[in-house]
C-alpha cells in the first residue's frame, strides 16, 4: 500500500505530540454517556403522546384478538395427517415413546429417552476467531481442548494461533483480565502482552491489566495452582501457587535506604517496593538491587517487575524517558475553548500552550482565593456562634409557666 508522505508526516507529528508533548487521549466516556442519556430522555418524551399511547393500546388489542385465532389453525392440519393423534400430542414433539411409535412417519419411530434430558451446561465454543472480546459480561472460550480461558467483562484478546485444535496455544492480551485453566500435559499455553509474557507450566492463573490514558500500564499475574513463568524485557520471575506479581509503569515518589516508592499509573497511592531477601534468616536485602535503586531519583519514570513475597519486592527495574503521566481523573477537566466559543482551527496549537498555562494558573489562583474566602467565612461563623448568648430564656419561661400551673 502506498503511503503518502504528508499523511506519514502527520501521523508522526500526532504521535510525537502524544509521546513527547503529553497530549494523551482524554477519557471521554462519562461525558459521552451523559449526553447519550440526555438524548434518550428527549427521544422518549415526544413519543409518549396520547396518540402514541392510543395506537399502542389498539395494536395490543388487535394482537390479543388475532393471535389466538391464528395459533390453533395448525392443529387441524396435524389431525388430518394423523387422525389417531389428538391435537395436543401432535403439537408436542417430545412425546412418550409408546405414543411416538404409533405414528406412521419413520423418523418419529426412533427411540426417545424416557426421561427429559437434564439442562445442558453452557458449553464453551471452540474459537477460531482472531479477536475475542467479551462485552459487558464474562465469556468463556476453549482453546485447543486444554485451555479454558475466562474473559472478564470488557476484555479483548487476540488469538495468535489459527488452528482451534493446536497443541500450542498463544493469546495476546490487549486489555482487561483473563483467568486461565490449562492442562499442561496436553499442550503449551502462553499469554503475551506488551508488558510481558506468561508461560504456563501449571494449571490455573489469572492475568489482569490496568489501562491508564489509553495505554495498558500495569499487568498483574496471580497463580491459583501450579507454576507460571513470567518474562518481561526488564526482568523475569517464576510465580508459584498463591503468589502474585507483575509489571508496571509508574513514577518514583521516593527512594530510601533499602526501598523505592513508586506510584503506578492508574493508582492514586504510591507503594513501597523492597529488594529480594537473600540468605535466609541471617541474610540481607539484595545488595545489587539496592545499588540499582539508588540510581533513581523521585520524579523519574520507571517500569519494573515486582512480586509479592511477604511484601512487595522489586525484581527488575528500568528507567523510561517518558513524560510523567497524570493522576487518574486529572484529565477529566476540559481544556481549550468551550463548545459555544468560536473555533480557531487556523491557530497553531503550540502558540496556545502559553495561553493554556496562564489559564490554568488563573483557575488555580481563583480556587485558592475561593478556599481562603470559605475558610474566612467559616471562622466568622464560628466567632458569631461563640459571641451569641446562650438560649436560657425558653427554659426560664417554661419554669415560670410550671410555677403558675402549680
Amino acid at each position: 500500500m502506498e503511503v503518502h508522505d504528508d499523511d506519514q508526516d502527520r501521523l508522526m507529528d500526532m504521535l510525537l505530540r502524544e509521546e513527547l508533548g503529553g497530549q494523551r487521549p482524554p477519557q471521554l466516556a462519562e461525558r459521552i454517556l451523559q449526553r447519550a442519556k440526555q438524548e434518550r430522555a428527549s427521544w422518549w418524551r415526544p413519543r409518549m403522546t396520547p396518540a402514541w399511547v392510543a395506537a399502542l393500546v389498539a395494536a395490543a388489542m388487535v394482537a390479543f384478538v388475532v393471535v389466538p385465532r391464528l395459533l390453533p389453525s395448525k392443529a387441524p392440519q396435524n389431525v388430518a395427517e394423523n387422525p389417531k393423534q389428538p391435537p395436543k400430542q401432535a403439537k408436542a414433539p417430545e412425546n412418550p415413546p409408546e405414543e411416538t411409535e404409533e405414528q406412521e412417519e419413520p423418523e418419529l419411530k426412533t427411540p426417545v429417552a424416557p426421561t427429559p434430558a437434564p439442562p445442558v451446561p453452557p458449553v464453551a465454543p471452540k474459537i477460531a476467531e482472531k479477536i475475542i472480546r467479551s462485552e459487558d459480561k464474562e465469556r468463556v472460550v476453549e482453546l485447543g481442548d486444554f485451555c479454558r480461558v475466562t474473559l472478564a467483562p470488557f476484555t479483548t484478546v487476540e488469538n495468535k494461533v489459527e488452528a482451534a485444535d493446536s497443541k500450542e496455544q498463544h493469546i495476546l492480551l490487549k486489555e482487561g483480565s483473563v483467568a486461565c485453566e490449562v492442562d499442561s500435559k496436553k499442550g503449551k499455553f502462553k499469554v503475551e502482552h506488551a508488558l510481558g509474557t506468561v508461560f504456563v507450566r501449571g494449571t490455573k492463573f489469572r492475568v489482569n491489566t490496568v489501562k491508564h490514558e489509553g495505554h495498558v500500564r500495569r499487568l498483574t499475574v496471580g497463580v491459583k495452582e501450579g507454576v507460571v513463568f513470567f518474562d518481561a524485557p526488564w526482568g523475569e520471575m517464576e510465580l508459584e501457587k498463591g503468589q502474585e506479581g507483575g509489571t508496571l509503569l509508574g513514577l518514583v515518589t521516593s527512594v530510601g535506604k533499602d526501598f523505592i516508592e513508586v506510584r503506578a499509573d492508574g493508582e492514586h497511592d504510591a507503594r513501597k517496593y523492597s529488594p529480594r531477601w537473600v540468605g535466609g534468616m541471617d541474610g540481607k536485602f539484595d545488595r545489587q538491587m539496592i545499588e540499582r535503586l539508588h540510581d533513581y531519583k523521585p520524579g523519574m519514570r520507571v517500569r519494573m517487575i515486582w512480586k509479592f513475597d511477604e511484601r512487595d519486592r522489586v525484581l527488575g527495574i528500568e528507567g523510561i524517558d517518558e513524560k510523567p503521566a497524570k493522576r487518574e481523573g486529572d484529565g477529566a477537566k476540559r481544556e481549550g475553548p468551550r463548545r459555544d466559543e468560536k473555533p480557531d482551527a487556523h491557530k497553531d496549537p503550540h502558540k496556545d500552550a502559553d495561553a493554556e498555562k496562564r489559564k490554568k494558573e488563573e483557575i488555580q489562583r481563583r480556587e485558592r482565593e475561593a478556599a481562603a474566602k470559605r475558610e474566612a467565612l467559616k471562622r466568622e461563623g464560628d466567632a458569631v456562634k461563640r459571641d451569641q448568648p446562650r438560649r436560657e430564656e425558653p427554659v426560664k419561661e417554661r419554669e415560670k409557666m410550671d410555677g403558675e400551673r402549680r
Binding site: M1, L11, M14, L16, Q23, P26, A29, G336, P349
Partner: protein, 182 residues
Amino acid sequence: MTNEVLEALVRTHEAELYRYVRYLGPISSAEAEDLVQETFLAAYRSTSLPASSEPRLMAAWLRGIARNLFLGHCRKVRNNPIRTDSASLERAEATWAGEFLREGDGFDYVEALRKCLEKVASKQRRMLDLYYKEGKSRAEMAALCAMSEDGVKSLMRRTRAALAECIRKRVAREVVGSGSRQ
C-alpha cells in the same frame, strides 16, 4: 443501541478515535473531543449498525462517521486553513489503517516509536524536545540552534521521516520474529 453497548464501544475505541481525529488535521484538543463525542452519539442514533460487532469492523465504521463529521466541521469554519476533500481523507484513512493499525490497535507502532526515539541523534532529539516538549516556535528554535527557520522545518521533517522508517523496519522485524517463533 443500548447504553451498555455504547459504553463498551466508547471505552474500547475512544483513544483510537481521538488520535485519528487529531491525525486528520490540525485541530485543537477541544475540537477533537467534540468530534469524538459527536461520532459516538451519531453511532448511538444510527439505526444501521455494522453486521458484525468485531472490534476492527466497528472501529472502521466509527472512523467513517468521524471522517464525515470532520469534513463537515472543516466546511463550517470560515477561512479554514485546512484544505481537505473526501479523496484526501480516504487516502489518510488508508495510511492510518495500513501503516498505523496493521490489523491491531496501533499499540505496536507506539511501542516501536518509543524504542526509535531512544536512537535519535542528540541534535535531532534536542529539536524534537524543543518543539514537542517545550512548545517552542520554529523562530525560537532557529534562534536557539543558530539555524534558519527553513532549516529547522526541513530538519524536523527529515527527523520524522527517519523515525517513520525506523518504526516500519522495527515493526516488520517483530512481525517476522513472531512468525518464526510460532
